[in-house]
Amino acid sequence: MIEEPLLSVRDLRVTFPPRRGRPAVRAVEGVSFDLRRGETLGLVGESGSGKTTTGRAVLQLQRPSAGSVRLLGRELTDMASGDLRAMRRHMQFVLQNPYTSLHPRMTVGQILSEPLAVHRAVPPNRRAERVAELLSLVHLDPKVVDRYPHEFSGGQRQRIVIARALAVNPDLVVCDEPVSALDVRTQAQIVQLLSELQDKLGLSYLFIAHDLAIVRSLAHRLAVMFGGRIVELGDADRIYETPVHPYTQSLLDAVPIPDPALQRARLARVAPEPHIPRHEADLSPCCFGEDHRATGRPRWHEVGPGHHVSCHFWPTAQAGADGANAGQG
């Protein structure tokens, strides 16, 4: 029997309206995925491809233009604001910047008590106890409650941000670049902490990041975004070992190597232009030989067990030539 996923996203779309001669921006164009309990889905891809917008739309911080987001079996997209407020304790957000995401004039104790009060998660007389518990959970000394954010290092601040997200016992945590501002040792500690908390509390993570090595160390499954769509989705190890979509391949090929001679040689080589077309005619048949207009099925192909690839943005034989002189594109 298949257990119902914690989160189920179907054909999610976000369009930012046109303004002052600027056309509408279709930031997310039909994204679908499931996230099970205790699972991490890594979300990687091109800068500007819609990862943050997807994360915000899942959390209803950005209202989607279309599509469905179901959390714990309940549809969020048309929920009344009162109900949505109540659902918020199940879903939390951890952002990149440990410097600006904490209020500078609030003590650690105040920062952690706030969500407890807003969601009435624990009675007022138990709040101090819960704050101490949260600090130990992220391996900070409960004695730091009276200190201010600027007294902490970047890594410590990120622990406080995580503690704040966990205050209300969420089921889903959307992490948007949670470690990219930290040094490699601190990164490793936070990654360790996130995976330990997942084991202990059964959390599910939607983990958005650019560092593909960090994502690999946490993700069970991986989604790769390009141009507002997921172009590849499946078991993380499988995609890392046998990427199928040309964009995924170019992404994995571009990971910088921490070896000076190799990395210099690589940058000196002519940029390996991926020649990925952004605006394409509905190809029939597509690169997998299917005529989608005839079959009416989505442009989505299973290439291995649970491993799916989109036939959007697939270079054609001639695409190389016109991609090369696209210039500033």
Partner: protein, 272 residues
């Protein structure tokens, strides 16, 4: 080598928060040189003082703070720490440009991205409004923003994190500085756009002889971009050397610990 002295010579630089430097210093007397056209890299743990050092060169303090500086920062032989404010204004942005770590804090939220780059160009280069906008659109294209002419009319919050970071880079290189200080310039970029930006910086180095001071946590990035590496720890430089030597044969235990912690893409998550 006599006339080719260092472009930048930093000696016993100290920085302490507070007006009279009341707090304990966070940069504790560091010294280094950057030769014309040279690229140097700074690595070290979060909070060790890399950004405070970078800002100190331009006599800038983090938003809302005041910092007391000590020591000497000589640019082409003149001590920037002693320079009259008006002359310092000429150096900033034009001779020495900086990409700040937090792009959102350094962009004006109520001006379009294009206006901000236009203003910067017109301020430093005396361009007409139309010429400035043409150059702005070119620069945005150069850093890989698609549809640059229409996206120039967007406000910063309408850009993604990585797009904002690229705007900062475009602004910093717009005046073809002698020295570019780049504080974590590519953290918000995917690796293909990152490679494009790194190649752009290398090209500017070769074409303009621009020197580069690169601060990053990413050892893959530092590896391909710089000749010298400085490893900072708690406000001090604890190790310095040629990039190949630092990677091959690190001496200081802290450097070794950092190198050992580099995440490897071959490592899958531990199965539980």
């Amino acid at each position: 080598m006599s006339d080719a002295g260092p472009l930048l010579q930093v000696r016993d630089l100290t920085a302490a928060f507070g007006r009279a430097g009341a707090a304990a210093p966070v940069v504790k007397g560091i010294s280094f040189d950057v030769a014309p056209g040279e690229a140097v890299g700074f690595v070290g743990e979060s909070g060790c003082g890399k950004s405070v050092t970078a800002r100190a060169i331009l006599r800038l303090a983090p938003e809302g703070a005041s910092v007391t500086l000590g020591g000497r920062v000589a640019y082409r032989g003149r001590d920037l720490l002693q320079l009259p404010a008006r002359e310092m204004e000429q150096v900033r942005g034009r001779r020495i440009a900086m990409v700040f770590q937090d792009p959102m804090a350094s962009l004006n939220p109520v001006m379009t991205v294009g206006q901000q780059i236009d203003d910067m160009l017109r301020h430093h280069q005396n361009l007409s409004r139309r010429a400035a906008r043409r150059r702005t659109v070119d620069l945005l294209g150069l850093v890989g923003i698609r549809d640059p002419a229409s996206r120039a009319d967007d406000y910063p919050h309408q850009f993604s994190g990585g797009m904002r970071q690229r705007v900062m880079i475009a602004m910093a290189v717009s005046c073809e500085p002698d020295l570019l200080i780049a504080d974590e310039p590519t953290t918000a970029l995917d690796v293909t756009v990152q490679a494009q930006i790194l190649r752009l910086l290398l090209r500017l180095r070769h074409e303009l002889g621009m020197a580069l001071m690169l601060i990053t946590h990413d050892f893959g990035v530092i590896a391909g971009m710089v000749e010298q590496v400085f490893v900072m720890h708690r406000g001090e430089i604890v190790e310095r050397g040629a990039v190949d030597a630092i990677f091959r044969d690190p001496q200081h235990p802290y450097t070794r610990a950092l190198l050992a912690a580099i995440p490897r893409i071959e490592t899958a998550r531990r199965s539980s």
